[in-house]
Symmetry: C2
Subunit: 345 residues, 2 copies
């Protein structure tokens, strides 16, 4: 490389140029499930976020619209004053949707139009001239936790996101494990209770149909109608907004002694414990990290969950598998997008 090139003239930035980077920046991008929230973070090569832009939309964005908005946000974040002549080496994008990580394509986006087979990686590379890596949100969060969060020091770990849906990201030997068809991690659609409730995917007995934030809240609302005392507890804890009840409020109502809520929570915990123990026996991860809205229940979740899961886990030593909350919380996916970019530099 020409060492005399002046610093204010950025080097051309194409993926076929191999650079052993010692200076520069990376971008992390998060597109939420449904395409309602977009975040772009500029980070240094240590993963420190320098600047961040966020957009929250009032309606789902279609695929082409999201690409256009992303391009504008990236241009804003990567302003010449901010970069001061340094280059943006990579862009990691985490999408709350099924993606083909190898080809860099979004397979589809639930509750939004124009995302089917969207070649997001290629589009961003063409429009922004930054080599780009695409993955789904659970995989990115797993890598984020492994790099900056609760999984630092572990080569093999699983991140389980308990949100609206349930998905896992598997890190093996320090990198995301995708499987043969880049579909690995679908723990939400494993059968844990054959006669269980319907899963949003249309099948019965899946973990997601029992233990996702949505499933727990929906079950709670469904059963409470027959118990006036429970309805009263819901009104009290939610401040009268029962229809907007959150999953950690269900845990709170249970912890305050409401037996109906306790039944709902225990059912979810029971099958979650079986799933995590089965996962532990199959993969023997160094740590299982739990994120998403359900993890906001904190000790009300983790205490009983460990108590139920650990007796089901085979372990060689007396040391039980660690089941811990996400350390990065709602930043896990965006930080993971940064980690995706860094890992490719």
């Amino acid at each position: 490389m020409n060492q005399t090139r002046p610093e204010h003239e950025p080097l051309p930035n194409h993926s076929h140029i191999t650079v052993l980077a010692t200076q520069g920046y990376v971008l992390g991008v998060e597109i939420s499930s449904g395409g309602m929230r977009l975040s772009v973070a500029l980070a240094d090569l240590q993963g420190q976020v320098i600047y961040q832009a966020r957009r929250r939309l009032s309606a789902p964005l279609d695929g082409p619209g999201a690409v256009q908005l992303l391009q504008e946000m990236i241009a804003e974040v990567c302003s010449p004053e901010r970069l001061k002549g340094s280059r943006v080496l990579r862009c990691g994008i985490a999408v709350g949707a099924p993606v083909d990580a190898r080809r860099g394509v979004v397979r589809t986006m639930y509750r939004a139009e124009g995302w089917d087979h969207l070649p997001l990686k290629d589009l961003i590379e063409q429009r922004c001239s930054i080599p780009t890596i695409l993955d789904n949100d659970a995989n990115a969060a797993a890598l984020g936790e492994a790099t900056f969060g609760a999984g630092v020091g572990e080569r093999n770990l699983v991140y389980v996101g308990l949100g609206r849906g349930i998905g896992a990201g598997i890190v093996i030997n320090g990198t995301i494990y995708h499987g043969a068809g880049t579909m690995a991690g679908e723990i939400g659609h494993t059968v844990v209770k054959e006669d269980g409730p319907l899963c949003p995917c249309g099948r019965r007995g899946h973990l997601e149909g029992i233990a996702s934030a949505q499933a727990i809240v929906r079950t709670m609302i469904g059963v409470s109608v027959e118990y006036p005392q429970t309805e009263e507890a819901i009104r009290r804890v939610t401040g009268g907004r029962a229809e907007a009840m959150t999953v950690d409020e269900v845990f709170r109502i249970a912890s305050e002694g409401d037996s109906v809520a306790q039944g709902v929570v225990n059912e979810a915990l029971h099958y979650l414990a079986i799933s995590l123990a089965n996962l532990s026996n199959l993969l023997d991860p160094g740590v299982i990290i739990i994120g998403g809205a359900v993890a906001l229940a904190g000790d009300l979740l983790f205490g009983p969950l460990r108590q139920m899961a650990l007796p089901l886990c085979l372990r060689a030593s007396t040391e039980p598998v660690r089941i811990v909350p996400s350390a990065l919380g709602s930043d896990a996916t965006l930080r993971g997008a940064v980690a995706l970019a860094l890992q490719d530099v």
Copy 2:
């Protein structure tokens, strides 16, 4: 290295010498569960087995006795006339027992004495002066199938051994995945039916308690006592040796229309299908390879198993996960031991 050293004088063989081997041999060793069968294979660097020694014992061998016998068998197999001055570069050992693959130690051996914490790798290295790699039988079989059998061409696969017990070997990116505590692959002890029969490990609901060869035969014998027609079918198929009934005979009786046997087989298949689908959704392997005694049932197993499992598998494409029989059959573990050695050369 001294190129003029005469061929009949073997080079010293220590693990600290890094050799880019172009000639020489490797050993594969199989020690069966219970320590009743020992096999030693000499193979060339293409994995072709040149010579093989087998011992079948009338009683379980204790740990030190097995080490002594192995040393003798290795000396026999590696006779100077056979090696003709070439060196044995590595020894791969597959044991039908829980092992700590990283430290090369057998944790314990069921139905045999003197195996607890046996440092088998170190003992063989000291006595035979051959760098040695130790693993369990399912892991070795998985690598064997990946290298020489039904998994050739796949980077990510799972081998499920349905024998007396049930264990899996997971190959990721072409090498055995051990997990954080080298305990990965314990699919036999995942909960699939909470109120299911007792597993040999003492817990309830495990796949091994329902779908191992032993579990299927035991259930068949247990339920048949109430059905004279079924007892008659057992006598006919087993030639009067009902007490020695094999699992493929249970499948045969079912295929001949006996409804009691069909019930037993369907129960096992049902939970096996759920387990394999859950495995597929979590790991998205390129292929799931089934070995062990249950696999001997052939099409009577694989036809209905695929029919039950595939509808439970999420797949990105229309191509279903492949569930195939072991190509190496009863040689999978020994060939896997050879592959263990080769992979370390």
